[in-house]
Amino acid sequence: MNRSRTWVLTFLLVAGSCTSYNHPETAATQLKFGTDVAKKGLWREAAFRYEQAIAKAPDNAHAHNNLAVALEANGDFARALTEYKKALELAPNDNYIRRNYARFAEFYTSYTKTTGKAASVP
């Protein structure tokens, strides 16, 4: 009896992890799908997926970072700045997000200096 209960428990665990992969509405799935399409250069689709992920999990720093990168690739720099700041606010010690933000800040400062579009990055 106990043995069968163990098998049922293990089956449920495995099945649970498999089914979550197929649910397009979860933040994790949206994030993964967004990254897959981003790697193919489909940045608009990626941005949409990351926005969906944020709608499901607003405190996910990785989703905010990814959305910032996608917005940057689409040329929406002002919104990218807001998303990078949000990602850093949620995960201030994440070295990858910090590195992304530093590189973006360098680019955005020179971009705004030449176009005068917005105030420089603080």
């Binding site: 209960r5 994030l31 970072n65 971009y111």
Partner: protein, 234 residues
């Protein structure tokens, strides 16, 4: 039995947490737009005026620089790049155009002179500035670490390294051909080093120029540049 199942579930949870913690992000490449530094229409007539040659004083001492017609090579390069990658009409200022001064600050302020060049060449934009090209023999003894295969200890030893350095420093002056007023002043610098003593100076010059090409063209037209970012999968 229940205890074993709980232990298995706990182990699975731990594994998932560890996998999430060590999940490294993916590096992706983006192309970021660089807007032109000057708000031009894109079809203006541009006159290339002479540049001040900062290396002139050193030419007498350095025989290798005597072989390089810096003014001519740079003009040729700039004209070719502008004609190939933009829609500007590029003309050379007539050979009788002589710079009124060899001082860059004064040159930038010589609005009457530039307006005259603009009128003479019928150009809306005039480009001038200064050029500095240096070939440096950087050969010499350098200290390096050396681990002896006999006793396994690390020593420092002096080795002779042959190197040549090429330095190119361009100051760009972009002037309004109608008023002669300065529109923009910008500096581009590049340093290249080769691992041979008698590297060819013309080859060095063009290595410098091609690495500055994007920056130079970005003065007049929009360009893009590659950037790397990290994105996460989970």
């Amino acid at each position: 039995m229940f205890r074993r199942a709980r232990a298995a579930a706990f182990a699975l949870g731990l594994f998932a947490a560890a996998a999430a913690a060590f999940a490294s992000p993916e590096q992706v490449k983006l192309r970021l737009p660089l807007k032109a530094k000057l708000p031009l229409r894109g079809n203006e007539r541009i006159a290339l005026a002479p540049f001040i040659l900062v290396t002139d004083a050193e030419k007498a001492r350095d025989k290798r620089l005597q072989n390089v017609d810096l003014q001519g090579e740079f003009h040729r390069f700039l004209k070719k790049q502008l004609e190939k990658k933009t829609k500007f009409e590029v003309v050379e200022a007539p050979p009788d155009v002589k710079l009124p001064t060899q001082n860059l600050t004064e040159l930038a302020r010589a609005s009457e002179f530039w307006a005259a060049v603009g009128a003479q060449t019928n150009s809306e934009i005039v480009v001038s500035g200064s050029l500095e090209f240096k070939v440096e023999d950087r050969s010499g003894y350098k200290t390096e670490e050396y681990t002896s295969p006999i006793d396994g200890r690390t020593y420092y030893r002096q080795v002779y390294v042959e190197q040549t350095g090429f330095l190119f420093d361009i100051v760009f002056l972009v002037l309004d051909g109608r008023t002669g007023e300065k529109l923009l002043q910008d500096e581009f610098k590049d340093f290249r080093q080769t691992s041979s003593r008698k590297a060819d100076e013309l080859q060095g010059l063009f290595e410098n120029l091609f690495s500055l090409e994007n920056q130079i063209l970005n003065t007049f037209v929009a360009r893009d540049r590659e950037a790397e970012r990290y994105i996460f999968k989970d």
